[in-house]
């Protein structure tokens, strides 16, 4: 039984089959990459898995549980966190607040006790802070802790978004293009962090990527999509050599 099992997943927007009968399995503890040219349906696939879209057909199972028809806010507490390609942070809040929002699924107190800020709420807040500081240490965000997202450079925002996802203490992390728009140095750091997250924190990672260097370095297996369909699956080196993948990127004659 695989950890994340996507079976026969499809969705159409109007006449376009954005994801067309896609199936793949991710094992616990691996780094799995999804590649494909623009418009291949990678982000749509992520939106389907994380519950933002509901599919026209097919199923998604996570840790033995059917999550196909669950809304996004009920999937997150199961231990599935994600980032967005174009960064969806809470712009007018500080880095610290963004990371604390990531702790939402671990809250134990009710809104009524928040109104009175009972001692139990304070203890819980201190606990959240300790966990958030661990993430800040890991991703070296200490310098930006009190700054508003709106004032941060793009590269740092990317890291904060990964940090927010880590604050959920996920078992499975979906990273949508973690290195897009980053310079080579930032990309390399991101690669190391993904390795750390996978090895040290034991988080299974599924990522969408364009950067083949990064994919070859961190991913164990790769799935290639084109026009919503799976065209290849296997080790990074094999997939890169598959004729269908070369055609999809460079165009067949």
């Amino acid at each position: 039984m695989s950890y994340l099992a996507v079976e026969d997943l499809s969705i159409s927007f109007g006449g376009i089959r954005a994801v067309d009968h896609v199936s793949f399995d991710v094992d616990e503890g691996e780094v799995f990459a999804i590649i494909g040219p623009n418009g291949a349906g990678k982000t749509t696939l992520f939106n389907l898995v994380s519950g933002i879209y509901s599919p026209d057909g097919g199923s998604v199972r996570f840790a033995g549980r059917d999550i196909t028809s669950l809304p996004a806010h009920r999937i997150a507490p199961l231990g599935l966190a994600r980032t967005f390609q174009n960064i969806e942070l809470f712009e007018h809040a500080t880095v610290l607040q963004n990371l604390l929002i990531g702790r939402h699924v671990h809250r134990r107190s009710t809104a009524l006790s928040h109104l009175l800020f009972l001692p139990a709420v304070r203890r819980e807040e201190l606990e959240h802070r300790r966990r958030v500081e661990d993430v800040i240490d890991l991703l070296e965000l200490a310098h930006y802790r009190e700054q508003r997202i709106a004032n941060l450079p793009y590269g740092v925002r990317k890291v904060v978004e990964v940090g927010r996802a880590l604050c959920l203490e996920p078992k499975l992390l979906l990273l949508d293009e973690p290195t897009s728009g980053l310079n080579p140095e930032e990309s390399e750091d991101m690669g190391f962090w993904i390795e750390d997250i996978n090895r040290d924190l034991g988080v299974t990672v599924v990522m969408v990527a364009h950067d083949m260097g990064l994919v070859s370095r961190v991913a164990g297996r790769v799935l290639a999509l084109n026009e919503g369909r799976v065209i290849a699956e296997g080790s990074p080196a094999d997939v890169q050599k598959t004729p269908a993948v070369v055609d999809a990127y460079l165009g067949a004659d």
Binding site: H73, A81, F90, H92, I101, A111, L115, L116, R122, L168
Partner: protein
């Protein structure tokens, strides 16, 4: 410039961050408590009204400034609070119980409105809340058996701990206490996960969902909280009016409440207080301005809503963070002197965001 050396997470959680805060807020509280001794009846009454506005503003700020849901219908919650309180006082309920009931009834109605309006955002939500306010106004004027309609409803005399509330200073202290309690409750919400969920919804609904925030629950909760607090202000407002009739809770009041939140500074509780002071003294300013204008303009119908709307537009265009934002700028000018540059507070560019999924 003050540098804080933090040694414990509690320093981030506490309301008053350092000695300076404790001193100034303490002084403000002492001054507020001493005001009845120094002010005449008229100004004490005006200050009382400003504080009632401030309570309503705290409620509206939670909704508009922190959850990002616009409401043009908060006069309705003010009315519901006022009528519930007066009617319950009339049947002999004690003052405090009646206030609690007014808060609960308003919160319940607010939750209903919030739940119905779940799918609406922005201008559509504003129009829906406006429609709700008109509906409430109509209902109050038609339900004569209960509210007296346009004949009005006399607000019964209240008494607290066996002491009848007749004097201005008594009402002043009741309002001051409730304002402090409301502010503390609102700030408590904001420093816990409920408040952070509200901020998350304001800034990005899609990522709020994907960190596990149930949009429906938190939007409804925000509406309920906001309506409840505004209902509290309504109950106090009833005593100020003395006589309730539907035309005391018109669209103009809703507009004034929104104006207060925007002019004070969206997204800050201190802004509410600045906004309330502004709104409280605006009518006096308008009265003075009227005397200097030619009568054709001064007596024109709809002059007040026009001016309110104009102020709203100008503030949103030129100082979106309101009086509070202006205060921050002045403060950092002096802190950074002579290094302050206008660019320090320029609005930053927003990077491309994920396509809206609605």
């Amino acid at each position: 410039m003050r540098f804080l050396f933090k040694t414990h997470y509690n320093q981030d959680i506490d309301h008053l961050k350092h000695g300076g805060d404790r001193f100034w807020y303490g002084l403000l509280l002492v001054l507020a408590a001493a005001a009845p001794a120094a002010l005449g009846t008229f100004y004490l009454g005006e200050l009382n009204l400003v504080m009632i506005y401030a309570i309503a503003g705290v409620g509206l700020m939670l909704l508009v400034g922190y959850t990002g849901q616009v409401s043009l219908g908060h006069a309705a919650f003010l009315a519901i609070g006022a009528y519930t309180h007066s009617l319950l006082l009339g049947v002999g309920l004690p003052f405090l119980l009646s206030i609690v009931a007014a808060v609960l009834v308003s919160a319940l109605v607010g939750a209903g409105v919030g739940w119905i309006a779940l799918r609406m955002t922005g201008i559509y939500l504003a129009i829906a809340t406006l429609a709700f306010a008109m509906l409430t106004e109509q209902t109050i004027s038609r339900a004569e058996w209960l509210t007296g309609g346009f004949r009005g409803l006399a607000v019964p005399q209240a008494s607290l701990f066996g002491m009848p509330l007749t004097q201005g200073w008594q009402h002043y202290y009741v309002t001051l206490t409730l304002l402090v309690v409301t502010l503390l409750a609102a700030l408590n919400i904001l420093r816990s996960s409920t408040g952070r969920a509200m901020v998350a919804i304001r800034d990005s609904e899609i990522s709020a969902e994907s960190v596990g925030i149930n949009l429906a629950v938190y939007k409804t909760l925000a509406f309920a909280l906001s309506a409840g607090i505004t209902g509290l202000a309504g109950a106090l407002f009833a005593h100020r009016l003395g006589y309730l009739s539907p035309d005391a809770f018109t669209f103009l009041i809703s507009l004034q409440l929104l104006l207060m939140v925007v002019v004070g500074g969206v997204g800050s509780m201190r802004g509410v207080i600045y906004g309330a002071l502004f709104i409280g003294f605006l009518p006096q300013l308008l009265a003075i301005a009227r005397d200097t204008l030619p009568p054709q303009i001064a007596q024109a119908p709809g002059l007040e809503p026009g001016i309110f709307g104009l102020i709203l537009v100008l503030v949103i265009l030129f100082e979106p963070q309101g009086i509070f934002g202006r205060w921050l700028k002045i403060k950092s000018y002096f802190q950074l002197f002579p290094l302050y540059r206008r660019a320090t507070h320029r609005r930053q560019k927003t990077y491309l965001r994920t396509e809206r999924l609605r």
